[in-house]
Symmetry: C2
């Protein structure tokens, strides 16, 4: 079973990487970009075949390692 | 209109970041993780309201700045 985890900075947390992308897009002539937020996506290939167990395991991974839940939020999708 | 771009390393391209995550998960006791790939996700807030034009603009951004198309593939979703 495969899972995709998307980790983004929470709203209100300054995102310098996203700001850098926004500036760079402006410099390249892309007008009309009001905001950019950059996060990370992690695709996991799991041996677990039960969807509920897999999701619980991935959430535990997020809490322990993949996301810093003080400043980041995460979303888990099974694919 | 908002767009989400997901940029992943192409299959076959070595992903040291993903490997590091896989090892770390193993060290934390998460068995049964067969593979990990890490990529980035970029959420754009666009002034453009026409879906087709917005997608074309985002694809141009990806080709010029957001993805290195030699080693990375990207996916655009309008949200």
């Amino acid at each position: 079973m495969k899972a995709r985890v998307t980790v983004m900075l929470k709203n209100g947390v300054l995102d310098p990487q996203g700001e850098a992308v926004r500036h760079a897009l402006g410099s390249l002539g892309f007008a009309g970009v009001n905001g950019v937020r950059q996060g990370k996506v992690i695709e996991l290939d799991l041996a677990e075949t039960d969807a509920a167990k897999a999701e619980a395991e991935v959430r535990a991974m997020c809490d322990k390692l993949l996301a810093n839940t003080v400043i980041e939020s995460y979303r888990v999708e099974l694919i």
